[in-house]
Assembly symmetry: C2
Homo-oligomer: 374 residues x 2
């Protein structure tokens, strides 16, 4: 069972407050989804994720296909049981990872031959197989297998790629074994070309997916380009379906996405920079690894009430990161996810009270973000 | 304030049930102390440590001296505040680490010149400096700076080394700045030689330390040798002071130590093997990294009620370890510490009920341990 309802649209921007209902629980949107690539959000266990308020997390089909593999996933009874997470899960199709392999893969209409990044073993992935794997994983939200063309692809390549992605989407839809309890989303492609984005959105919309993702953005293009393509694309998606902007999670892009009608986001940024010693705070990024923090006994973020900010100092966190202690990665990950999930909560609240632009301006100013065009 | 009381001695063995009182709380003995080398028990935060029942943890003066260093430790107000741990802390003196450096150090009566394992920088450590550093760290229990002679040292070297360690112990005692709130323990050395162990124990006992450690064991010698040396040494230590066997924490040695009058243990074994994918369970060691566990959906230890065993399967833990996921190291660490702390609780209970030998036999049989001499 999958349902999306719009609760309210913000007065000034049309930003949507919504609610997604799945068999594993309800998600208030707009939402940020922590990424749990290999059946764990790196360094977090499911108790941590619940304590910081995560409502839905991501899994990566490509990684789970290689390890632990389909057989183990089947025997475990799916990813929820395997990792002991009883809230909703979204899986990507593996398309992005496969296409990131570069020379290690070969694309045909039928599917993609690729070499594992782990051991070089050869694999053949098709829309049908990616769908089947997600059926075995049992994610609440599945993604169509798509080609994510490189940002610098020319018009001709991008057009052919987008058209193939649409044909693959149909094959995924046809192969889907559990449509009653897993929602399969279509993915809009089309590179940096407005007309290709529009064509992709129109063709997929006609196929009546329960939700729509926008893929192939935040791949190196300017943020202004991404925002422009959202302006072009989102209005062409069915209004009554959730809109998911894939791989985007910076503070500015979360606001600009919501303002343009996006309901769902995911990004590895929060957890990746945490492991490198960078915190997202109300005053902007704090590279706590740096020397000035060695004797700073204040919390990471004076405005944050998370477990880490209530219990630990910048000096201690810097020490842990400098010593490559696991705990440093874990505490910063916890904080960054809490910061982002709290930000999304503020955004939902601002939609309710029709004050989203004011919130954006306040947060951008404190965070040190220049608005595009200023 | 530091106090040790004997609550009861076990009927058959004389094993001691005791209580240590410090400014940061009370510790029931015999106790196992998790090792927090660099101001963190690897992968655990202080909330984890409390949830698994740790009453006292270790810090390493050598590591804390190099990072974060004395100045930061002083500004932080000591290690308790630096790492946000309000229960007791014991620090070693750095002696063991410095002597482990091998060619990187040079020993004289005055102290030890050594090169940092981090950057090769030169340092000079003396009994006075090691004591001062521990005064700055503010540990509840401090250790004298000792020379831990290699296990294969000859009689002459070991004798001279032990005598110097005794002279250094006096210098530590004289240098101690906070005897009213930090207890400084003497460390018995003497290698594998009974008469040297006896001499060391006698000389240190005469100096009236608030507690006594036995160092230089579990450094490669046979377990039977270690047990024999405990038989020789422990009876020569003041009965009314706590006895601490340094660096020992295997299941068999915990029992054999307690039976011989040891009250305190520490060991990196639990946390180190955890990070390599090995669990300590009621049925013996489980190398969960191994292939047979890939589709084993039972808990790590069917008799354990820890968070990990209640929530996760061997198959999931194996997957995390195989993927080098931080969470794998963390969950196994949690379990191994819980297992060991629970074992010590069982041991304390068995002393109360005069059934320690029966408990030992039961646990050894299930764990697959041969009793020495059988």
């Amino acid at each position: 069972m999958f349902r999306y309802e719009i609760i309210k649209e913000e007065k000034d921007t049309g930003a949507r407050l919504g609610r997604i209902t799945t068999d594993h629980g309800v998600i208030e949107t707009p939402i940020f989804m922590p990424v749990g690539t290999q059946a764990t959000v790196k360094s977090m266990d499911t108790h941590d994720l619940k304590s910081l308020g995560a409502r839905i997390i991501l899994g990566n089909t490509y990684h789970l296909y290689l390890r632990p593999g389909e057989e183990i996933m089947k025997k475990a009874g799916g990813l929820h049981r395997f990792m002991n997470w009883d809230r909703p899960i979204l899986t990507d199709s593996g398309g992005f990872q496969v296409f990131s392999l570069g020379d290690l893969r070969k694309i045909t209409e039928e599917g993609v031959t690729f070499a594992s990044h782990l051991d070089g073993s050869r694999h053949f992935m098709t829309p049908e197989k990616a769908t089947h794997l997600q059926n075995v994983i049992g994610s609440d939200i599945m993604m169509c297998f798509d080609e994510c063309a490189p940002a610098d692809s020319d018009y001709d390549y991008t057009k052919k790629s987008m058209e193939m992605t649409t044909r693959w989407a149909k094959r995924c839809q046809d192969a889907h074994e559990r449509p009653e309890d897993q929602a399969l989303f279509g993915i809009v492609q089309g590179g940096m070309f407005e007309d290709l984005r529009a064509k992709s959105a129109a063709d997929l919309s006609a196929m009546d997916f329960p939700g729509y993702a926008i893929g192939g953005l935040s791949v190196g293009e300017a943020k202004s380009t991404m925002y422009h393509l959202l302006d072009v694309t989102v209005p062409l998606l069915p209004r009554e379906k959730p809109h998911y902007l894939m791989g985007v999670g910076s503070v500015d892009a979360l606001f600009e996405g919501v303002i343009r009608g996006i309901d769902m986001f995911d990004c590895v940024l929060q957890t990746r920079i945490a492991r490198n010693g960078t915190a997202m705070t109300s005053q902007g990024k704090v590279v706590v690894r740096n020397a000035p923090y060695q004797d700073d006994f204040s919390p990471l973020d004076p405005e944050c009430d998370c477990y880490v900010c209530r219990n630990h100092t910048r000096a201690y966190l810097r020490h842990l990161i400098k010593c490559n202690e696991i705990l440093g990665a874990r505490l910063l990950t916890y904080h960054n996810l809490y910061f982002t999930l709290s930000l999304m909560e503020k955004i939902r609240e601002a939609i309710k009270t029709d004050s989203l632009l004011a919130l954006r301006d306040t947060i951008f100013q404190k965070y040190g973000i220049q608005k595009i065009g200023e």
